[in-house]
């Protein structure tokens, strides 16, 4: 931990991955005879950078585009527009073969380790498969490497010949992590990696991910909807809403001084495990709009307590307000306003 500057929670600032104006639009057609085509702007102009050795958390509710962003970064989807750079190479411009080589450095851990592990393969084969595919090891060497990976994630040697169904959810997630580590990647995208796990198991996996990051100098993009887990593991956090990044900052700034009303509402909605802090009212009204037909201007304006005509008509610019604190809002929250919201809440 010594090399990490805890003061501002920023790790040495070497950019390992950069995303510029990233867009992914899906066309969906309705009807058969009178075909109607509409476009879902799943990711609609997202910019961020990831520093080497840090964890960038990406949070948001259903339909915000966080998982699509993860798949774009991994090269599993082709962007409609925009660029993705990994260590100064533009991965969004690579052909299949080059992409395959680049993927050695970019790996993923999925939410549900049961559906992402082949039920007919033993643990040994699952963890070793990436090494075989990339022709990096075989025979005794392969076995040795698999064993080392298993030790790294806390699995025992005698479990090598077992199948995924013989393991509990937490153990299966360890298998998924070992497999993701097999190619010694530099960046790992954790897509809801602990969301399906029980609380006590979630803590085990979060601790493991942190330990591995320190040991192997990994960079994580941690995509999740569970805010407490994201705060626990991330250095910086980006908040997405309907395909756009609405705020990105240091984790403490996001949690203690959010500038976007959506971030504030999202944090305020998290149930706190303390009955003394029970919420008597909620700030945020309304539903998450349909991503195929998002509201005009600022996407959040129909649910925002501060919205006016400007918000209705103009898309707010995503800009850096303080050092490293980005927000896309015409009227970022001031301390005064957050206080107004909480006193109003107390009154009601």
């Amino acid at each position: 931990m010594a090399e990490i500057n805890i003061e501002n929670n920023r790790v040495e600032e070497e950019i390992i991955l950069e995303v510029q104006n990233l867009k992914k639009h899906f066309e969906i057609s309705k009807g058969f005879i009178n075909k109607e085509v509409s476009t879902v702007r799943a990711v609609d102009g997202v910019d961020f950078e990831v520093f080497k050795g840090e964890t960038l958390g990406i949070v948001g509710e259903s339909g915000c585009g966080k998982s699509t962003t993860g798949q774009l970064v991994l090269g599993l989807l082709e962007p409609t527009e925009g660029k993705i750079y990994f260590q100064d190479n533009e991965i969004s411009a690579l052909n299949q073969k080059e992409l395959r080589a680049a993927r050695r450095n970019l790996q993923v851990i999925f939410q549900d380790p049961y559906s992402s592990l082949n039920p007919r393969m033993t643990v040994e084969d699952i963890i070793g498969e990436p090494l075989v595919v990339h022709k990096l090891a075989s025979g005794k060497e392969l076995r040795k490497k698999v064993l080392r990976l298993m030790n790294l994630v806390g699995l025992q040697e005698h479990q090598m010949k077992r199948y995924p169904h013989e393991f509990s959810g937490g153990q299966r997630q360890r298998i998924g992590i070992a497999r993701a580590l097999a190619l010694e990647p530099k960046v790992i995208v954790c897509d809801e990696a602990v969301s399906a796990l029980d609380v006590s198991i979630q803590a085990q996996i979060l601790n493991l991910l942190k330990k591995l990051q320190r040991q192997l100098d990994l960079t994580y993009i941690f995509i999740a909807h569970g805010l407490p887990a994201v705060r626990h593991i991330s250095n910086r956090i980006g908040v997405m809403y309907l395909g756009r990044m609405v705020e990105l900052a240091d984790r403490n700034a996001i949690f203690e001084k959010p500038l976007h009303p959506y971030t504030y509402a999202l944090l305020d909605s998290v149930p706190i495990p303390d009955p003394k802090l029970r919420k008597e009212s909620q700030v945020i009204e309304g539903e998450i709009p349909n991503p195929s037909n998002p509201p005009s201007g600022c996407h959040f304006h129909p649910r925002c307590p501060f919205a006016n005509d400007v918000c209705k008509n103009e898309v707010p610019e995503y800009r850096e307000i303080f050092d490293g604190h980005y927000v896309a809002c015409h009227y970022p929250l001031t301390d005064h306003e957050t206080q107004v919201i909480s006193t109003e809440k107390e009154k009601s």
């Binding site: 803590a203 909807h225 805010l227 003394k276």
Partner: protein, 320 residues
């Protein structure tokens, strides 16, 4: 709080499998009063959902209650006929589930499904049921309630579907509402709306709510009293403030400290080692001993009783 509504004594449920019977609920005891919200909290495999299914009399065909007593008001739920049980469900007790999409019928409109139960239980005409249905949708905060009556489940969002489920469950003024992970599948801003709705409804209607959840945050938001389950047993029971301030059982304490907090940051989270035991291979003695930081030899031999430390706080542990 009022009169006792529900009393469960030493409930045991088992399932028939290829390898013989497996018991997943092993002597669960708790009670509920009128107008009270009781939360049962536990991880997967703790038996919390099976307990609620047994209570509703809707266990899957291979499951059975093989011991214990369930008394609802003055009725012994293990002795009443199927017909009486059916009358009880819907009228006196109703249930909402985690995923409303699977609990609603996809080929009928919301209105049809709401009217059906109202017409059946209250002998209303179609027009009267329609009117009452719209009232119910208004009550649970569905905008455009008249239009929603003619929509199909897939045309609504997850949060709206859960509101419809709650409207249906409450339409016959049940005395007991069982909510099995009612917000687990919802986004967090929608979850807070539904939790608020459940709190408001309780104030307005005096319905008792039994909420089953794995999320201590949800527990803290809505419950009056809490039952903590582990491996098919109640390991702790206490009023909500007392439980969060003064948890006794090492499992409860472990659960609380393994949750990442929104408002503070620690380097490493506390974690309970190991996993929930398989119900066919339960450890001897205290079922939590293989994962317990306080366990010693005595714990491997003695199965502790649920012991009251004051009139409302009980724990199943010999070490604390």
């Amino acid at each position: 709080m009022g009169e006792q509504l529900l009393d469960i004594q030493d409930l045991k449920v088992r399932f028939k499998t290829d390898d013989g019977y497996v018991s997943t609920v092993n002597g669960v005891t708790f009670h509920m009063e009128e107008g009270e919200t009781l939360a049962i909290v536990g991880e997967s495999g703790s038996g919390k959902s099976v307990t609620s299914l047994a209570l509703m009399g809707i266990l899957p065909p291979n499951g059975e209650v093989y011991d214990g007593n369930m008394t609802f008001e003055d009725k012994n739920l293990r002795e009443i006929s199927k017909k009486e049980y059916r009358k009880l469900r819907g009228n006196e007790m109703s249930m909402i589930f985690q995923e409303p999409m699977t609990a609603l019928n996809p080929v009928f409109t919301i209105g049809f499904q709401l009217r059906e139960s109202l017409m059946l239980h209250f002998n209303l005409s179609k027009d009267e049921a329609q009117k009452k249905g719209i009232e119910m949708l208004d009550l649970v905060g569905i905008p455009d309630s008249e239009k929603t009556m003619s929509r199909f489940p897939h045309q609504l969002s997850g949060g709206m579907r859960q509101r419809v489920m709650i409207a249906m469950a409450l339409s016959c003024n049940p005395k007991l509402l069982i909510a099995d992970e009612p917000t687990t599948a919802l986004d967090v801003t929608i979850q807070s709306q539904i939790l608020k709705l459940m709190r408001d409804l309780k104030i307005d209607s005096n319905t008792s709510i039994l909420i089953i959840t794995h999320d201590l945050g949800v527990v803290a938001e809505v419950a009056d009293r809490v039952v903590v389950m582990y491996a098919g047993e109640v390991v702790e029971e206490a009023p909500v403030y007392e439980l969060f301030e003064n948890p006794k059982h090492p499992y409860t304490k472990g659960l609380m400290s393994s949750m990442p907090k929104v408002h503070e940051v620690v380097d490493d989270l506390y974690s309970i080692e190991g996993t929930v035991p398989n119900p066919s291979k339960m450890p001897a003695g205290c079922k939590f001993h293989p994962r317990c930081p306080l366990a010693d030899e005595e714990c491997t031999l003695v199965h502790p009783d649920l012991e009251y430390i004051n009139e409302s706080h009980a724990k199943r542990c010999i070490k604390v």
